[in-house]
Amino acid sequence: MKKDILICGVGGQGTVLASKLLASAFMEQGEEVRSAETIGMAQRGGSVISHVRIGKSFSPLIPFGKADLILAFEPAEAVRNLNYLKPDGLVIVNCVPVKPATDSLQNSGYEAKPMIDYLKKTCDCIVVDGEKVITQFGSAKFLNLAILGTAAKYDCLGLKKEDLLCAIEQIVHARYVNVNKQVFEEAEKGAFL
């Protein structure tokens, strides 16, 4: 298999965990996986990207126009990284924005709607309602599993549901395995669309 998946969001949203879950699931299937992360300034509200490359590849970063799938945890970050998307690629995006930390001081005017509208206009796009995740499970921290679950529903990962459930058991802290599996299963049924 050859697949390139870009995960993007804001520091703290759980992009690195999502990247590890995917890597684990693909490796269980015997695939070669590599990834590159931006870490460091992520803690302090910066943009973060993980490039997950499955199959034979040389560059640690996905080339522009080659990503099969973009999993975007944040609307502006989805638009920011559209250059990576291949012509018939798919974007799965959470519609709840994270305003920049400086927004209250100097209003950037950033709103999610224009971003989501632009995405719908420019590419194949599935919108995940982050608010429903927060309402049902009490925290934005479960966004990553909601997005992965939604991706599983549309069968665009190249993974079976069981592969990801297995990965959750292996990677997520024991105390949170069950709730994470729940979020994933709900998302896979389409609960957050």
Binding site: M27, V33, G40, R44, F58, I62, T102, D103, S104
Partner: protein
Amino acid sequence: MKEYVMGNSAIALGALAAGVKLVSGYPGTPSSEIIETVSKYPHDGVHLEWSVNEKAAIEVAASAAYSGARALVTMKQVGLNVASDPLMSLAYVGVSGGMVIVSADDPGPISSQTEQDTRRFAEFARIPVFDPATPQEAYEMIQDAFVCSETYHTPVLFRPTTRVCHAYASIDIKENWRVKEYEGFIKDSKKWVIFPRLSFINHAKIEKRNPEIGEAYSEYRFNTTEGAGTKAVFASGDSYCYAKEFLQDQKGVKLIRIATPYPFPERFVLDALEGVTDVICIEELSPYIEEKLLQLAGKYKLKIEIKGKLTGNCPASGENSTMIVSDILSQFLGLEKRKTTDYSDAPVLPVRPPVLCAGCPHRASFYAVKKAMKGQKSYFCGDIGCYTLGNAMPLDMCDTCLCMGAGITMAQGFHWVDEEGKTFAFVGDSTFFASGMTGVVNAVYNDADMVLCVLDNSTTAMTGHQPHPGTGRNMMGQFVDKVSIKKVLEGIGVKKILTVDPLKLSDAVAAVKECAEEKGVTAIIFKSPCIAVTKPERPLVIRETCIQCKTCIREIGCPGIILQDGKVTIDQTLCTGCGLCAQICPINAIGGETV
């Protein structure tokens, strides 16, 4: 055994597989995870330490290497500057056991002050350097580096870059490692004590040896030539990966990869250049390979056109990427430029500048100084760490920042040219130990006038919350006496030292005013733990009585205070309940939930 790990972990595991005895270093992005990895895997018999700074790290390791034991030292590239004094001399003295110094470069730069190139440093120090392109290579090459060090009795540099350090890959690792046996230190003052006469003799030996290393590594399995043609691409490090990604679909071009930049593998390169008329060099940070090729072309009178940074064909600064390299190579090969989708009609994207975390005590410390010194001419000399972010609006409390420990000494310089203004230096607890203490001695000895603000948050935060001498914990799992910053300052002779909780705003402001009124060197230790190493308090809320004056937002700009539907609100997922905003609100409209 297969492990999915980042490049830094691959380096650590490779060093363990090589039987390393001692691992030392100082935190620095992108190298910090190497030592953290060693601590997470079995490492019986290995001495592991975060040294107080990179100079100490090299020196501690050198003795191990003198004793025939293998030693690994880790740092980022600017840390190499701090380590350069011992390293330059060590190159002349040599080693017995293998000693490898990992200096992680940072193209961009993403989080460093310079785009300096460790390959150049290796040449300057006259020692070999290895340049891995992937985590798997890093695992194997670090072991080769130890062998090289022992074969040629020289310290060896190892320079990964961010995209190797922080890239994850599945690597095959050897299990059941143990410390390689070593014979111990054999006294021989003619060998181990540096004197000009010894340096004169050894310098000649080094200059004779280096071309021999270049010759030997012309056979090295990671110096490779792929493809064929009259056009050739030279690449090193992650640039090799970007080039290979593009060239996998091309024919009629050679891809030549240099894994041992110094000593330059001359014979390998000359062989690779057979039949080549046009060359382009794909590299980051400096045109090192390009210059070496120009030297070679001059020496052997080669008829080759060499392109790269110097000819303007490659960017002079900044990080490479698959796209930048594809565009360069398309042009070089006379191919059509890639078609790109035009996203220029996208809505304007928000900028996300890094800011201090919600609840960070540094915000309170800077605010206290700002408030206390309002209306007075002051200089605020910052330093390297999370607290460099004190420069962000609305605090704007950082006039200068140069390098580790510089704030303390720069504050003194400003005083000497402007005795009317009041100078402040801000330094973190880890930076204080690393390179701040001597600056304070300088201030007391030269009778300067300044207020030293030590921002003690009990950790080395920016690089990932590593422990340091003031935290009472070291990497051998030992709980040790904390080195007291206050006692150090007392010992140096600082006459007035106040310790204050920055989150108690009026106490903090009073402390600043008290010190600012004094002549000479005074110090305030702002003591409050980093939010990442302590449990948060309950988040605060904006009360109904809020008049939307936005003083809280304008004065401190905490990311926890947001505008929701136009109204000032506290983000309950970010607020740690530090209470700073509550102390700033003019009408007491911020407080706990139950009030």
